[in-house]
């Protein structure tokens, strides 16, 4: 194995797990962080000069659609994890809405074999809550867990039945596995494609109300309380959801929340030109909602930032808006969007950002990632934080190009990604 001993010199090391934010050297040996200190001797080591750079744990993205098996035309485990590494993401949680869905032990082992053969980053597996994600019959959660699944979600759909959802939460608690909710009441969002209100009226499109999200968030929290089980709310997009999560946390309910870069960086006005890359679910919301999401990140109500990386082919996006697929890719832009929108604006400092994108998601998922503690897996990135770049179609490694940030100038370039002690990406 090459790159056995790597020394990252003089970077500004950010490691909130150990309250570190200072210029230090980081030594990586045998796939692990072996020393974090000043002036580590550089003999017989591969040196990375990180002067004026940020050195932080590799990002843990807990909401990624890798599309394999089944939709390899959109993304594969290979292409998706390569894209992840370019974006500074060393661990991903793969969502189960593949073809077939990850709803039984056989499909988990199929996925594991693909991961083993082709993943460049660490891929964790989410299984589905119900068979074929139809919301009716629970999967064998115990078996899924045994096969290595670390979370369950019907992502893309919400479990409509209170009974089924409650039962899932109870079993998940027993099995010590996390339930992740796509909170959307489809009876209320009925065929909508953009945020309900002035935007849907101006564009002449069907709307998706905030209510369709927050009413379901409220229900999911209620059920989590009943089951006394941990619950994670995916892609929080509106003010009321933030308020509900804040309340629940105050009451001691074990709820966590995540948002995606497009919900703190873009508002519904971005959809006004019918750009289908802005068509996401939940939809881009009002400026008030964006403000609430940003505040939620600042005051800790929203624990994590995840990309909701949702690759789609050109022919699924270059069509009439109402027929185009929902979703945008995000692995390669999430860090830069977060730096540009949250750190540069002073909303979050580097430690807080690292918590949202590495430490907290690792904690929520119960995985040993997101830190530079001695002995931890050597997943870390070196970031040129001030370097500006233009987001262009041909800049993406992902098989799909449906980014909501095309044409934007962002700050923050990942110069090195080290995963499991090996340099797996460099600019």
């Amino acid at each position: 194995m090459k790159n056995k001993i790597i020394l990252i010199k003089n970077g500004r090391v950010i490691d909130p797990a150990n309250n570190i934010d200072e210029a230090l050297d980081v030594l990586v040996e045998d796939g692990r962080v072996s020393k974090v200190a000043k002036n580590i001797s550089s003999e017989n080591k591969e040196i990375i000069d990180a002067q004026d750079k940020i050195v932080m744990p590799g990002l843990v993205d807990m909401h990624v659609h890798l599309r394999e098996p089944g939709r390899e035309d959109k993304e594969t485990i290979a292409s998706g994890t390569k894209a992840a590494l370019k974006g500074g993401v060393t661990s991903v949680l793969a969502m189960p809405n593949t073809l077939p869905a990850i709803d039984c032990a056989e499909n988990v082992s199929l996925l594991k074999s693909i991961i083993k053969n082709s993943a460049d980053a660490t891929v964790f597996i989410a299984g589905s809550i119900t068979r074929e994600r139809l919301g009716r019959e629970l999967t064998d959660i115990t078996k899924l867990k045994k096969e290595g699944v670390i979370a369950i979600s019907d992502d893309g759909a919400s479990v409509d039945s209170d009974d089924v959802m409650l039962e899932a939460l109870k079993i998940a608690k027993e099995q010590n596995i996390l339930v992740i909710c796509h909170s959307e009441d489809k009876a209320l969002s009925a065929n909508g494609v953009v945020n309900l209100g002035l935007t849907s009226t101006r564009l002449g499109l069907r709307g998706i109300s905030q209510e369709s999200e927050y009413k379901r968030v409220a229900r999911d929290i209620e059920l989590a309380k009943k089951a006394d089980a941990p619950l994670h709310i995916a892609h929080v997009s509106c003010k009321e959801s933030v308020e509900l999560i804040a309340q629940a946390k105050k009451m001691g309910i074990k709820v966590t929340g995540e948002t995606a870069p497009h919900y703190f960086a873009l508002s519904q006005e971005a959809v006004l030109g019918y750009d289908t890359n802005m068509k996401v679910n939940p939809p881009l919301r009002s400026k008030d909602d964006v403000t609430a999401i940003r505040q939620g990140l600042k005051n800790g109500v929203i624990d994590a930032i995840a990309s909701d990386h949702a690759p789609h082919t050109g022919n699924e996006k270059d069509i009439e808006f109402e027929w185009a697929e929902f979703g945008a890719i995000g692995l390669e832009t999430e860090l830069a969007v977060a730096i540009t929108e949250l750190v540069e604006s002073g909303l979050l400092d580097w430690s807080a950002l690292t918590k949202k994108m590495a430490l907290n998601p690792a904690k929520i998922l119960g995985i040993n990632k997101g830190t530079l503690s001695i002995g931890a897996d050597a997943d870390l990135i070196v970031v040129a934080a001030e370097k500006e770049w233009l987001v262009e179609k041909n800049s993406f490694i992902s098989k799909s190009k449906n980014s909501a940030f095309l044409g934007r100038r962002l700050r923050g370039v990942v110069e090195y990604t080290i995963c499991g002690g090996k340099i797996v990406y460099r600019t």
């Binding site: 101006r202 709307g207 022919n315």
Partner: protein, 321 residues
């Protein structure tokens, strides 16, 4: 009037909606239409303004009236006209709208007039071809030439737009005609009221500049004009659509209702009329009705639009050369 100046003020290759246009641009279309209106009264109803140009009517929805109006307008400008009745296709079946547009462009056509059931279709097409695109109605979004001919007719009848009170009655939620009229009329300084059953008023319409009433008599009381929309009862996939007779009873325009309105109230309808549902036959054929004049004016307005977008594109190409 200085013809040259007028042409220079119009720089858009496309007409996609009235929301995008400035007051001046709308006025420019209206004055250009005024000068074209006379052509249709000549013995030889033709001018050579678009001679050698090809206009393609690409219609994904059946529409006789708008299609024919555009065809007549293009022919009176001496353009060659091709009509395509196209089939809508989803992502995996048939040719995409963008591909169809690029094929038409490859035929060296100059203007595509497009009608489509999906909101935003005209904008998407315009982004993907370099030739001109004129929106002849996209989903619930906009139908700019209809609103322009409504405004043109109103101005002809009442001499002005600024300060007028105009009520739009009917299915506002699903109406591209309503949206284009609201944008156009408010930009020109009219006060717009929309009137419909609650479930047919879209959210936040006040923020587009319209006032709401659910009472037809109130909508008519002070109005200088009423624009009555066609009710499309085939929209049964939309929940809570009113029943026909019930609608006529509560919102239909009748002589009795007009008696309580201004004597010279102008009654408009984009057609085709459902007699006895949106309005009674007496009103449709009555003295206040300008419905057939709207049809005539539609030709002049569409001539103006085709002429202006073609000029803008020629101008751009000359600048590139």
């Amino acid at each position: 009037m200085n013809h040259e100046l007028k042409i220079m003020a119009w720089a858009r290759k496309d007409l996609l909606g009235l929301e995008d246009l400035s007051k001046e641009e709308i006025e420019l279309i209206l004055t250009t239409a005024e000068s074209f209106k006379e052509v249709s009264t000549r013995e030889i109803k033709k001018v050579p303004a678009l001679r050698g140009k090809t206009v393609v009517n690409l219609f994904y929805e059946p529409s006789t009236r708008t299609r024919v109006s555009f065809e007549v307008a293009a022919k009176r400008l001496s353009a060659d006209v091709i009509n395509i009745a196209a089939q809508e296709s989803s992502a995996r079946k048939g040719e995409t709208l963008i591909d169809t547009g690029r094929n038409i462009e490859a035929l060296k056509a100059d203007i595509i007039v497009v009608r489509h059931s999906a909101s935003g279709a005209a904008a998407m097409l315009a982004r993907n071809v370099s030739i001109s695109v004129v929106n002849a109605g996209d989903g619930w979004h906009e139908h700019p030439t209809q609103a322009l001919l409504d405004i043109f007719t109103l101005k002809e009848k009442l001499g002005r737009i600024a300060g007028l009170k105009v009520s739009i009655v009917g299915d506002i939620a699903h109406s591209r005609v309503a949206r284009s009229n609201i944008w156009g009329l408010t930009k020109l300084g009219a006060e717009v009221t929309v009137c419909a059953p609650r479930m047919l008023i879209p959210p936040a319409i006040e923020q587009m500049g319209a006032r709401i009433t659910y009472d037809i008599d109130e909508a008519l009381r002070e109005a200088d004009a009423v624009n009555v929309l066609r009710m499309q009862f085939e929209r049964d996939e939309e929940a809570a659509f009113p029943e026909k007779l019930e609608y006529f009873k509560n919102f239909g325009i009748t002589q009795e209702r007009l008696k309580k309105a201004k004597k010279n109230i102008v009654v408009m309808h984009p057609g085709p009329i459902n007699r006895g549902i949106e309005m009674s036959s007496e009103v449709a054929d009555g003295l206040n009705s300008v419905i057939l004049e709207q049809v005539t004016n539609g030709i002049a307005v569409r001539m103006a639009v085709l002429f202006l977008v073609a000029q803008a594109r020629d101008e751009k190409q000359n600048n590139i050369d």
